[in-house]
Amino acid sequence: MASDIPGTKEAREVLKKNKIVIAGVGETDQGKIPDRSSFHFLSQASKLAIEDAGIKKSDVDGLVTAFSLVEHTFMHCTTFADYFGMKPKFFSSVAVGGATAVWMAAEAAMAIASGQAEVVLCVRGDNTLSGISSSGMLALIREMCHGEFEFPYGLTTPGGYALAAQRYLHDYGATREQLAAVAVTMRKHAALKENAMNKDPLTIEDVISSRIIAEPLTKYDCSIISDGGAAFIVTTEDKAKELGIENDLAYLLGMGQGYSHQYMTTLENLDQIYNAINRSGQKAFQTAGLGVSDVDLAYLYDCFTITVLLELEGLGFVPKGEGGSFALEGRMEIGKDLPVNTHGGLLSQAHLGAMHHVVEATLQLRGDAGPRQVGDAEVALVHGNGGIVSAHSTILLGKEPLS
Protein backbone atom coordinates (compact mmCIF):
# COMPACT_ATOMS: atom_id res chain seq x y z
CA MET A 1 0.00 0.00 0.00
CA ALA A 2 1.86 3.06 -1.25
CA SER A 3 -0.85 5.71 -1.10
CA ASP A 4 -0.99 8.11 1.80
CA ILE A 5 -3.56 7.27 4.44
CA PRO A 6 -5.49 10.39 5.46
CA GLY A 7 -4.71 11.67 8.92
CA THR A 8 -1.20 10.32 9.29
CA LYS A 9 0.44 13.73 8.90
CA GLU A 10 -1.83 15.17 11.59
CA ALA A 11 -1.25 12.17 13.88
CA ARG A 12 2.50 12.60 13.43
CA GLU A 13 2.33 16.24 14.48
CA VAL A 14 0.35 15.33 17.59
CA LEU A 15 2.79 12.59 18.62
CA LYS A 16 5.79 14.76 17.80
CA LYS A 17 4.51 17.68 19.83
CA ASN A 18 3.48 15.65 22.87
CA LYS A 19 6.29 13.06 22.83
CA ILE A 20 4.08 10.30 24.24
CA VAL A 21 6.03 7.60 26.06
CA ILE A 22 5.65 4.38 27.97
CA ALA A 23 7.49 5.16 31.19
CA GLY A 24 6.82 2.17 33.42
CA VAL A 25 5.78 -1.47 33.11
CA GLY A 26 4.77 -4.27 35.44
CA GLU A 27 3.98 -7.97 35.20
CA THR A 28 2.75 -10.21 38.01
CA ASP A 29 3.39 -13.94 38.21
CA GLN A 30 1.73 -15.79 35.34
CA GLY A 31 0.35 -19.28 35.16
CA LYS A 32 -2.05 -21.17 37.37
CA ILE A 33 -2.54 -19.01 40.45
CA PRO A 34 -5.85 -20.09 41.95
CA ASP A 35 -6.04 -17.85 44.99
CA ARG A 36 -6.09 -14.44 43.33
CA SER A 37 -9.05 -12.60 41.83
CA SER A 38 -9.12 -10.59 38.65
CA PHE A 39 -9.07 -7.34 40.67
CA HIS A 40 -6.20 -8.61 42.80
CA PHE A 41 -4.11 -9.13 39.64
CA LEU A 42 -5.13 -5.70 38.33
CA SER A 43 -3.99 -4.12 41.59
CA GLN A 44 -0.69 -5.98 41.72
CA ALA A 45 0.16 -5.19 38.11
CA SER A 46 -0.70 -1.51 38.65
CA LYS A 47 1.49 -1.31 41.74
CA LEU A 48 4.39 -2.94 39.89
CA ALA A 49 4.14 -0.47 36.98
CA ILE A 50 3.91 2.52 39.33
CA GLU A 51 6.94 1.26 41.26
CA ASP A 52 8.83 0.56 38.05
CA ALA A 53 8.27 4.17 37.00
CA GLY A 54 9.31 5.30 40.46
CA ILE A 55 6.28 7.55 40.87
CA LYS A 56 3.53 7.82 43.46
CA LYS A 57 0.10 6.31 43.00
CA SER A 58 -1.33 9.83 43.28
CA ASP A 59 0.74 10.94 40.27
CA VAL A 60 -1.51 8.78 38.10
CA ASP A 61 -4.48 10.79 36.84
CA GLY A 62 -5.79 8.60 34.03
CA LEU A 63 -6.93 4.98 33.86
CA VAL A 64 -7.51 2.66 30.93
CA THR A 65 -8.64 -0.88 31.66
CA ALA A 66 -10.24 -3.54 29.49
CA PHE A 67 -12.62 -6.23 30.69
CA SER A 68 -12.61 -9.45 32.67
CA LEU A 69 -13.64 -12.82 31.28
CA VAL A 70 -14.38 -13.94 34.84
CA GLU A 71 -15.88 -10.97 36.69
CA HIS A 72 -18.17 -9.24 34.26
CA THR A 73 -18.71 -5.59 35.03
CA PHE A 74 -20.67 -3.00 33.16
CA MET A 75 -18.12 -0.25 33.93
CA HIS A 76 -14.82 -2.02 34.24
CA CYS A 77 -12.51 1.02 34.52
CA THR A 78 -14.40 2.70 37.33
CA THR A 79 -14.99 -0.61 39.13
CA PHE A 80 -11.22 -0.97 39.24
CA ALA A 81 -10.67 2.69 40.18
CA ASP A 82 -12.86 2.06 43.21
CA TYR A 83 -11.12 -1.20 44.15
CA PHE A 84 -7.63 0.26 43.71
CA GLY A 85 -8.51 3.50 45.46
CA MET A 86 -7.93 6.16 42.88
CA LYS A 87 -9.89 9.07 41.45
CA PRO A 88 -8.82 9.36 37.82
CA LYS A 89 -9.59 12.47 35.77
CA PHE A 90 -9.81 10.30 32.68
CA PHE A 91 -11.13 6.74 32.59
CA SER A 92 -12.04 4.36 29.81
CA SER A 93 -12.52 0.63 29.22
CA VAL A 94 -11.29 -0.65 25.89
CA ALA A 95 -12.93 -3.83 24.63
CA VAL A 96 -11.78 -4.92 21.20
CA GLY A 97 -10.73 -8.47 22.07
CA GLY A 98 -7.09 -9.19 21.34
CA ALA A 99 -6.66 -5.75 19.76
CA THR A 100 -7.31 -4.23 23.19
CA ALA A 101 -3.86 -3.90 24.80
CA VAL A 102 -2.34 -2.16 21.80
CA TRP A 103 -5.29 0.18 21.58
CA MET A 104 -5.12 0.95 25.31
CA ALA A 105 -1.77 2.63 24.59
CA ALA A 106 -3.35 4.58 21.73
CA GLU A 107 -6.36 5.54 23.85
CA ALA A 108 -4.06 6.82 26.58
CA ALA A 109 -2.05 8.81 24.03
CA MET A 110 -5.18 10.42 22.60
CA ALA A 111 -6.40 11.29 26.10
CA ILE A 112 -3.07 12.90 26.95
CA ALA A 113 -2.86 14.79 23.64
CA SER A 114 -6.33 16.22 24.22
CA GLY A 115 -5.55 17.33 27.76
CA GLN A 116 -7.70 14.80 29.59
CA ALA A 117 -4.86 13.43 31.71
CA GLU A 118 -1.08 13.47 32.04
CA VAL A 119 -0.17 10.08 33.49
CA VAL A 120 -2.35 7.19 32.36
CA LEU A 121 -2.23 3.74 33.90
CA CYS A 122 -3.15 1.01 31.39
CA VAL A 123 -3.83 -2.30 33.10
CA ARG A 124 -5.27 -5.73 32.50
CA GLY A 125 -5.48 -8.69 34.82
CA ASP A 126 -7.58 -11.77 35.00
CA ASN A 127 -7.83 -15.16 36.67
CA THR A 128 -8.98 -16.72 33.42
CA LEU A 129 -7.43 -20.13 34.02
CA SER A 130 -8.55 -20.62 37.61
CA GLY A 131 -11.69 -18.54 37.69
CA ILE A 132 -13.66 -19.19 34.54
CA SER A 133 -16.59 -21.58 34.84
CA SER A 134 -17.56 -24.00 32.09
CA SER A 135 -20.65 -21.88 31.41
CA GLY A 136 -18.43 -18.80 31.31
CA MET A 137 -16.16 -20.51 28.79
CA LEU A 138 -19.17 -21.48 26.69
CA ALA A 139 -20.44 -17.91 26.82
CA LEU A 140 -17.03 -16.74 25.64
CA ILE A 141 -17.01 -19.17 22.71
CA ARG A 142 -20.54 -18.13 21.87
CA GLU A 143 -19.54 -14.48 21.86
CA MET A 144 -16.70 -15.16 19.43
CA CYS A 145 -19.13 -16.41 16.80
CA HIS A 146 -22.60 -15.51 15.59
CA GLY A 147 -25.08 -16.78 18.16
CA GLU A 148 -27.78 -17.36 15.61
CA PHE A 149 -26.05 -18.42 12.39
CA GLU A 150 -22.74 -19.94 13.50
CA PHE A 151 -22.83 -21.19 17.07
CA PRO A 152 -25.64 -23.75 16.51
CA TYR A 153 -23.27 -25.61 14.18
CA GLY A 154 -20.80 -26.26 16.98
CA LEU A 155 -18.12 -23.77 15.96
CA THR A 156 -15.43 -23.29 18.60
CA THR A 157 -12.85 -20.49 18.80
CA PRO A 158 -10.00 -22.76 17.62
CA GLY A 159 -12.43 -23.96 14.96
CA GLY A 160 -12.85 -20.40 13.70
CA TYR A 161 -9.10 -20.01 13.35
CA ALA A 162 -8.92 -23.47 11.77
CA LEU A 163 -11.30 -22.20 9.06
CA ALA A 164 -8.80 -19.44 8.27
CA ALA A 165 -5.84 -21.83 8.53
CA GLN A 166 -7.37 -24.42 6.21
CA ARG A 167 -8.04 -21.82 3.56
CA TYR A 168 -4.52 -20.40 4.00
CA LEU A 169 -2.93 -23.84 3.51
CA HIS A 170 -5.10 -24.29 0.40
CA ASP A 171 -4.43 -20.88 -1.16
CA TYR A 172 -0.68 -20.81 -0.58
CA GLY A 173 0.34 -24.45 -0.42
CA ALA A 174 1.65 -23.89 3.09
CA THR A 175 2.35 -26.85 5.35
CA ARG A 176 1.51 -28.05 8.85
CA GLU A 177 5.24 -27.93 9.65
CA GLN A 178 5.29 -24.23 8.84
CA LEU A 179 2.44 -23.51 11.25
CA ALA A 180 4.11 -25.67 13.90
CA ALA A 181 7.38 -23.74 13.54
CA VAL A 182 5.65 -20.65 14.96
CA ALA A 183 4.86 -22.51 18.20
CA VAL A 184 8.41 -23.86 18.36
CA THR A 185 9.94 -20.37 18.14
CA MET A 186 7.59 -19.01 20.79
CA ARG A 187 8.59 -21.84 23.12
CA LYS A 188 12.30 -21.16 22.61
CA HIS A 189 11.74 -17.53 23.60
CA ALA A 190 9.56 -18.44 26.59
CA ALA A 191 12.43 -20.50 27.98
CA LEU A 192 14.27 -17.19 28.48
CA LYS A 193 11.35 -15.40 30.18
CA GLU A 194 11.28 -15.75 33.96
CA ASN A 195 7.48 -15.82 34.39
CA ALA A 196 6.60 -17.87 31.30
CA MET A 197 4.09 -20.65 31.90
CA ASN A 198 5.44 -23.17 29.37
CA LYS A 199 9.20 -23.46 29.01
CA ASP A 200 9.76 -27.13 28.13
CA PRO A 201 11.42 -27.58 24.75
CA LEU A 202 9.01 -28.20 21.90
CA THR A 203 9.68 -29.69 18.47
CA ILE A 204 7.73 -29.48 15.24
CA GLU A 205 6.95 -33.17 15.66
CA ASP A 206 5.59 -32.47 19.18
CA VAL A 207 3.24 -29.84 17.79
CA ILE A 208 1.95 -31.94 14.92
CA SER A 209 1.47 -35.07 17.03
CA SER A 210 -0.24 -33.29 19.94
CA ARG A 211 -3.97 -33.61 20.47
CA ILE A 212 -5.96 -32.43 17.48
CA ILE A 213 -8.32 -29.62 18.44
CA ALA A 214 -9.77 -28.46 15.13
CA GLU A 215 -7.98 -29.63 12.01
CA PRO A 216 -5.59 -28.40 10.87
CA LEU A 217 -4.80 -27.03 14.37
CA THR A 218 -3.51 -29.09 17.29
CA LYS A 219 -3.14 -28.28 20.97
CA TYR A 220 0.20 -26.50 20.50
CA ASP A 221 -1.14 -24.36 17.66
CA CYS A 222 -3.46 -22.85 20.27
CA SER A 223 -2.48 -20.27 22.87
CA ILE A 224 -2.49 -21.07 26.55
CA ILE A 225 -4.96 -19.85 29.16
CA SER A 226 -3.41 -18.31 32.24
CA ASP A 227 -3.90 -16.21 35.35
CA GLY A 228 -1.99 -12.97 35.77
CA GLY A 229 -1.78 -9.23 35.35
CA ALA A 230 0.25 -6.66 33.43
CA ALA A 231 0.32 -2.88 33.26
CA PHE A 232 2.10 0.00 31.60
CA ILE A 233 2.14 3.73 32.23
CA VAL A 234 1.71 6.22 29.41
CA THR A 235 2.76 9.83 29.82
CA THR A 236 4.82 12.47 28.00
CA GLU A 237 8.57 12.94 27.92
CA ASP A 238 8.16 16.28 29.73
CA LYS A 239 5.96 14.85 32.47
CA ALA A 240 8.31 11.89 32.91
CA LYS A 241 11.18 14.35 33.46
CA GLU A 242 9.10 16.42 35.86
CA LEU A 243 8.27 13.30 37.89
CA GLY A 244 11.92 12.25 37.91
CA ILE A 245 11.31 8.96 36.09
CA GLU A 246 14.70 7.36 35.51
CA ASN A 247 13.70 4.56 33.12
CA ASP A 248 14.68 4.91 29.49
CA LEU A 249 11.48 5.87 27.70
CA ALA A 250 9.76 4.02 24.87
CA TYR A 251 8.34 6.62 22.48
CA LEU A 252 5.04 6.10 20.68
CA LEU A 253 5.81 6.70 17.01
CA GLY A 254 2.57 5.67 15.33
CA MET A 255 -0.69 3.85 15.74
CA GLY A 256 -3.47 2.49 13.57
CA GLN A 257 -6.44 0.17 13.33
CA GLY A 258 -7.85 -2.08 10.63
CA TYR A 259 -11.17 -3.88 10.49
CA SER A 260 -12.08 -6.89 8.39
CA HIS A 261 -15.23 -8.59 9.70
CA GLN A 262 -16.72 -9.77 12.95
CA TYR A 263 -18.07 -13.14 11.84
CA MET A 264 -16.33 -15.59 9.52
CA THR A 265 -19.63 -15.81 7.60
CA THR A 266 -19.12 -12.31 6.22
CA LEU A 267 -15.47 -12.84 5.26
CA GLU A 268 -15.13 -12.66 1.49
CA ASN A 269 -11.59 -13.97 1.14
CA LEU A 270 -8.21 -13.97 2.88
CA ASP A 271 -7.30 -10.69 1.18
CA GLN A 272 -9.94 -9.00 3.30
CA ILE A 273 -7.95 -10.04 6.38
CA TYR A 274 -4.62 -9.05 4.83
CA ASN A 275 -6.02 -5.65 3.90
CA ALA A 276 -7.22 -4.99 7.45
CA ILE A 277 -3.84 -5.98 8.92
CA ASN A 278 -2.06 -3.89 6.31
CA ARG A 279 -4.25 -0.85 6.91
CA SER A 280 -3.59 -1.07 10.63
CA GLY A 281 0.15 -1.32 10.09
CA GLN A 282 0.40 1.27 7.34
CA LYS A 283 -1.42 3.86 9.40
CA ALA A 284 1.19 3.38 12.12
CA PHE A 285 4.11 3.23 9.67
CA GLN A 286 3.09 6.34 7.76
CA THR A 287 2.53 8.26 10.98
CA ALA A 288 6.01 7.27 12.14
CA GLY A 289 7.60 7.85 8.75
CA LEU A 290 9.00 4.33 8.94
CA GLY A 291 8.73 1.11 6.95
CA VAL A 292 9.02 -2.60 7.71
CA SER A 293 12.79 -2.55 7.19
CA ASP A 294 13.10 -0.15 10.14
CA VAL A 295 11.51 -2.62 12.55
CA ASP A 296 13.97 -4.48 14.77
CA LEU A 297 11.44 -6.42 16.82
CA ALA A 298 7.89 -7.53 16.08
CA TYR A 299 5.29 -8.42 18.67
CA LEU A 300 2.56 -10.22 16.76
CA TYR A 301 -0.69 -11.55 18.15
CA ASP A 302 -0.20 -15.29 18.44
CA CYS A 303 -3.50 -16.59 19.78
CA PHE A 304 -3.03 -19.34 17.17
CA THR A 305 -0.03 -20.12 14.98
CA ILE A 306 -1.89 -19.14 11.81
CA THR A 307 -2.38 -15.59 13.10
CA VAL A 308 1.36 -14.91 13.17
CA LEU A 309 1.74 -15.91 9.51
CA LEU A 310 -1.20 -13.76 8.41
CA GLU A 311 0.23 -10.79 10.34
CA LEU A 312 3.81 -11.22 9.09
CA GLU A 313 2.42 -11.15 5.55
CA GLY A 314 -0.32 -8.57 6.03
CA LEU A 315 2.06 -6.13 7.69
CA GLY A 316 4.44 -6.57 4.76
CA PHE A 317 7.41 -8.23 6.49
CA VAL A 318 7.23 -11.04 3.92
CA PRO A 319 5.12 -11.53 0.77
CA LYS A 320 1.78 -13.34 1.03
CA GLY A 321 2.21 -17.06 1.50
CA GLU A 322 5.84 -16.78 2.60
CA GLY A 323 5.34 -16.41 6.34
CA GLY A 324 5.45 -20.18 6.77
CA SER A 325 8.89 -20.67 5.28
CA PHE A 326 10.10 -17.60 7.22
CA ALA A 327 8.95 -19.32 10.42
CA LEU A 328 10.29 -22.74 9.46
CA GLU A 329 13.72 -21.31 8.71
CA GLY A 330 13.81 -19.93 12.27
CA ARG A 331 14.00 -16.34 11.08
CA MET A 332 11.67 -15.13 13.89
CA GLU A 333 14.12 -16.22 16.58
CA ILE A 334 16.21 -13.90 18.73
CA GLY A 335 19.41 -13.17 16.83
CA LYS A 336 17.83 -13.81 13.42
CA ASP A 337 16.18 -11.59 10.75
CA LEU A 338 13.17 -10.41 12.73
CA PRO A 339 12.82 -11.54 16.34
CA VAL A 340 9.11 -12.07 17.01
CA ASN A 341 7.62 -12.21 20.52
CA THR A 342 10.90 -12.43 22.38
CA HIS A 343 8.95 -13.18 25.58
CA GLY A 344 7.24 -16.31 24.27
CA GLY A 345 3.88 -14.78 23.38
CA LEU A 346 0.42 -16.13 23.98
CA LEU A 347 1.49 -19.56 22.76
CA SER A 348 4.00 -20.11 25.59
CA GLN A 349 4.40 -17.23 28.06
CA ALA A 350 0.87 -16.23 29.15
CA HIS A 351 -2.41 -15.06 27.68
CA LEU A 352 -3.50 -11.58 28.66
CA GLY A 353 -4.24 -10.24 25.23
CA ALA A 354 -1.21 -8.35 23.96
CA MET A 355 -0.38 -6.75 27.34
CA HIS A 356 2.85 -8.71 27.64
CA HIS A 357 3.69 -7.86 24.04
CA VAL A 358 3.59 -4.15 24.91
CA VAL A 359 5.53 -4.68 28.14
CA GLU A 360 8.23 -6.77 26.44
CA ALA A 361 8.62 -4.30 23.57
CA THR A 362 9.19 -1.57 26.17
CA LEU A 363 11.68 -3.65 28.15
CA GLN A 364 13.63 -4.44 24.97
CA LEU A 365 13.82 -0.79 23.92
CA ARG A 366 14.98 0.09 27.44
CA GLY A 367 17.64 -2.61 27.34
CA ASP A 368 16.01 -4.33 30.32
CA ALA A 369 15.10 -7.66 28.68
CA GLY A 370 17.83 -9.67 30.43
CA PRO A 371 18.75 -12.91 28.63
CA ARG A 372 16.31 -12.06 25.83
CA GLN A 373 17.85 -8.68 25.09
CA VAL A 374 18.23 -7.89 21.40
CA GLY A 375 21.23 -5.56 21.51
CA ASP A 376 20.57 -2.90 18.96
CA ALA A 377 16.78 -2.75 19.06
CA GLU A 378 15.57 0.75 18.24
CA VAL A 379 12.09 0.22 16.81
CA ALA A 380 9.46 -2.31 17.87
CA LEU A 381 6.09 -3.01 16.30
CA VAL A 382 3.21 -4.39 18.38
CA HIS A 383 0.12 -5.78 16.69
CA GLY A 384 -3.10 -6.97 18.29
CA ASN A 385 -5.91 -8.97 16.74
CA GLY A 386 -9.40 -9.35 18.14
CA GLY A 387 -12.18 -11.75 17.15
CA ILE A 388 -11.25 -14.31 14.52
CA VAL A 389 -8.53 -12.29 12.73
CA SER A 390 -11.23 -9.60 12.65
CA ALA A 391 -10.16 -6.38 14.34
CA HIS A 392 -6.58 -5.15 14.24
CA SER A 393 -4.47 -2.54 15.96
CA THR A 394 -0.80 -1.65 15.60
CA ILE A 395 1.59 0.62 17.46
CA LEU A 396 5.21 1.45 16.76
CA LEU A 397 7.51 2.15 19.69
CA GLY A 398 11.00 3.60 19.45
CA LYS A 399 14.05 4.36 21.52
CA GLU A 400 14.08 7.91 20.16
CA PRO A 401 11.23 10.39 19.69
CA LEU A 402 9.89 11.41 16.29
CA SER A 403 12.06 14.08 14.73
Binding site: L138, P152, Y153, M264, L267
Partner: protein, 140 residues
Protein backbone atom coordinates in the same frame (compact mmCIF):
# COMPACT_ATOMS: atom_id res chain seq x y z
CA UNK B 1 -42.71 -46.57 19.32
CA UNK B 2 -42.02 -42.88 18.97
CA UNK B 3 -38.45 -41.97 19.81
CA UNK B 4 -38.16 -39.19 22.36
CA UNK B 5 -35.94 -36.56 20.86
CA UNK B 6 -33.66 -34.66 23.20
CA UNK B 7 -31.49 -31.91 21.85
CA UNK B 8 -29.10 -30.31 24.33
CA UNK B 9 -26.93 -28.33 21.95
CA UNK B 10 -27.27 -24.57 21.66
CA UNK B 11 -30.20 -23.37 19.61
CA UNK B 12 -30.01 -20.16 17.61
CA UNK B 13 -30.34 -16.84 19.48
CA UNK B 14 -33.29 -15.65 17.44
CA UNK B 15 -33.78 -12.05 16.48
CA UNK B 16 -37.26 -10.98 15.37
CA UNK B 17 -36.10 -9.98 11.90
CA UNK B 18 -34.90 -13.46 10.99
CA UNK B 19 -38.28 -15.14 11.33
CA UNK B 20 -38.73 -15.76 7.57
CA UNK B 21 -35.40 -17.60 7.45
CA UNK B 22 -36.27 -19.99 10.26
CA UNK B 23 -39.84 -20.49 9.03
CA UNK B 24 -38.38 -21.35 5.64
CA UNK B 25 -35.98 -23.83 7.21
CA UNK B 26 -38.81 -25.42 9.17
CA UNK B 27 -40.61 -25.92 5.85
CA UNK B 28 -37.42 -27.33 4.36
CA UNK B 29 -36.60 -24.36 2.19
CA UNK B 30 -33.44 -22.30 2.30
CA UNK B 31 -34.57 -18.70 1.92
CA UNK B 32 -32.11 -15.84 1.69
CA UNK B 33 -32.66 -12.14 2.25
CA UNK B 34 -32.14 -9.79 -0.69
CA UNK B 35 -32.36 -6.01 -0.82
CA UNK B 36 -35.17 -4.97 -3.13
CA UNK B 37 -33.33 -1.73 -3.81
CA UNK B 38 -30.05 -3.20 -5.00
CA UNK B 39 -31.07 -6.76 -5.84
CA UNK B 40 -28.15 -8.00 -3.75
CA UNK B 41 -28.30 -11.02 -1.47
CA UNK B 42 -26.75 -10.76 1.95
CA UNK B 43 -26.05 -13.21 4.72
CA UNK B 44 -26.46 -13.52 7.68
CA UNK B 45 -30.05 -12.17 7.68
CA UNK B 46 -30.49 -8.69 9.13
CA UNK B 47 -33.33 -6.21 9.45
CA UNK B 48 -31.49 -3.80 7.18
CA UNK B 49 -29.40 -4.38 4.09
CA UNK B 50 -25.72 -4.01 5.09
CA UNK B 51 -25.02 -2.27 1.79
CA UNK B 52 -24.85 1.44 1.05
CA UNK B 53 -28.62 1.35 0.44
CA UNK B 54 -29.44 0.72 4.14
CA UNK B 55 -32.72 -0.62 2.91
CA UNK B 56 -35.30 -2.29 5.13
CA UNK B 57 -37.14 -3.28 1.98
CA UNK B 58 -36.09 -6.89 1.98
CA UNK B 59 -37.44 -9.85 0.06
CA UNK B 60 -36.87 -13.48 0.97
CA UNK B 61 -35.86 -15.62 -1.98
CA UNK B 62 -35.74 -19.40 -2.12
CA UNK B 63 -32.14 -20.41 -2.80
CA UNK B 64 -31.03 -23.27 -5.04
CA UNK B 65 -29.55 -24.93 -1.96
CA UNK B 66 -26.37 -25.70 -3.85
CA UNK B 67 -22.91 -24.44 -3.12
CA UNK B 68 -19.25 -25.24 -2.62
CA UNK B 69 -17.12 -25.67 0.48
CA UNK B 70 -15.04 -22.47 0.80
CA UNK B 71 -13.19 -23.66 3.89
CA UNK B 72 -13.79 -26.14 6.69
CA UNK B 73 -12.51 -27.17 10.10
CA UNK B 74 -12.75 -30.71 11.39
CA UNK B 75 -13.70 -30.27 15.02
CA UNK B 76 -12.24 -32.88 17.37
CA UNK B 77 -13.65 -31.04 20.38
CA UNK B 78 -17.08 -29.48 20.63
CA UNK B 79 -17.83 -26.28 22.54
CA UNK B 80 -19.52 -28.17 25.40
CA UNK B 81 -20.40 -31.57 26.83
CA UNK B 82 -23.55 -31.57 24.72
CA UNK B 83 -21.36 -32.47 21.75
CA UNK B 84 -20.02 -35.64 23.38
CA UNK B 85 -19.81 -38.37 20.76
CA UNK B 86 -20.11 -35.98 17.81
CA UNK B 87 -16.43 -35.30 16.99
CA UNK B 88 -14.97 -35.42 14.52
CA UNK B 89 -17.53 -33.18 12.81
CA UNK B 90 -17.12 -30.62 10.06
CA UNK B 91 -17.94 -26.94 10.41
CA UNK B 92 -17.67 -25.28 7.02
CA UNK B 93 -18.25 -22.03 5.23
CA UNK B 94 -20.39 -22.80 2.19
CA UNK B 95 -20.28 -20.46 -0.77
CA UNK B 96 -23.84 -20.59 -2.08
CA UNK B 97 -24.73 -20.24 -5.76
CA UNK B 98 -26.38 -16.94 -4.85
CA UNK B 99 -22.94 -15.55 -3.99
CA UNK B 100 -23.16 -15.35 -0.21
CA UNK B 101 -21.47 -17.58 2.33
CA UNK B 102 -23.13 -19.36 5.21
CA UNK B 103 -21.75 -21.47 8.00
CA UNK B 104 -23.02 -25.00 8.39
CA UNK B 105 -22.05 -28.61 8.95
CA UNK B 106 -21.11 -30.94 6.12
CA UNK B 107 -22.69 -34.27 7.01
CA UNK B 108 -23.17 -37.72 5.49
CA UNK B 109 -19.49 -37.87 4.60
CA UNK B 110 -16.23 -38.94 6.22
CA UNK B 111 -14.83 -35.61 7.51
CA UNK B 112 -11.48 -36.37 5.88
CA UNK B 113 -13.14 -36.67 2.49
CA UNK B 114 -14.30 -33.05 2.62
CA UNK B 115 -12.21 -30.64 0.56
CA UNK B 116 -12.23 -27.00 -0.46
CA UNK B 117 -14.32 -26.66 -3.60
CA UNK B 118 -16.44 -29.75 -2.85
CA UNK B 119 -19.93 -29.38 -4.30
CA UNK B 120 -22.60 -29.67 -1.63
CA UNK B 121 -26.37 -29.35 -1.35
CA UNK B 122 -28.65 -28.44 1.50
CA UNK B 123 -30.36 -30.97 3.72
CA UNK B 124 -32.58 -30.19 6.66
CA UNK B 125 -31.96 -31.32 10.21
CA UNK B 126 -35.11 -30.98 12.31
CA UNK B 127 -33.27 -30.71 15.60
CA UNK B 128 -36.42 -29.89 17.61
CA UNK B 129 -40.11 -29.57 16.82
CA UNK B 130 -39.56 -25.85 16.35
CA UNK B 131 -36.07 -25.53 14.93
CA UNK B 132 -34.59 -26.87 11.72
CA UNK B 133 -30.92 -26.32 10.93
CA UNK B 134 -29.99 -26.28 7.24
CA UNK B 135 -26.94 -28.51 6.77
CA UNK B 136 -25.08 -29.71 3.70
CA UNK B 137 -24.07 -33.02 2.16
CA UNK B 138 -21.90 -33.76 -0.85
CA UNK B 139 -23.66 -33.75 -4.22
CA UNK B 140 -23.56 -37.32 -5.46
Amino acid sequence: MAEEKTYNKPLPDFRPETKPYWEGAKNHALVLPRSKETGKFFFYPRAMSPGEDMSENIEWVKASGKGKVWTYAIHHMGPSKAYKGDPPYVVALIELEEGVKMMSNVIDVDPHDVYIGMEVEVVYDDVTDEVTLPKFKPVK
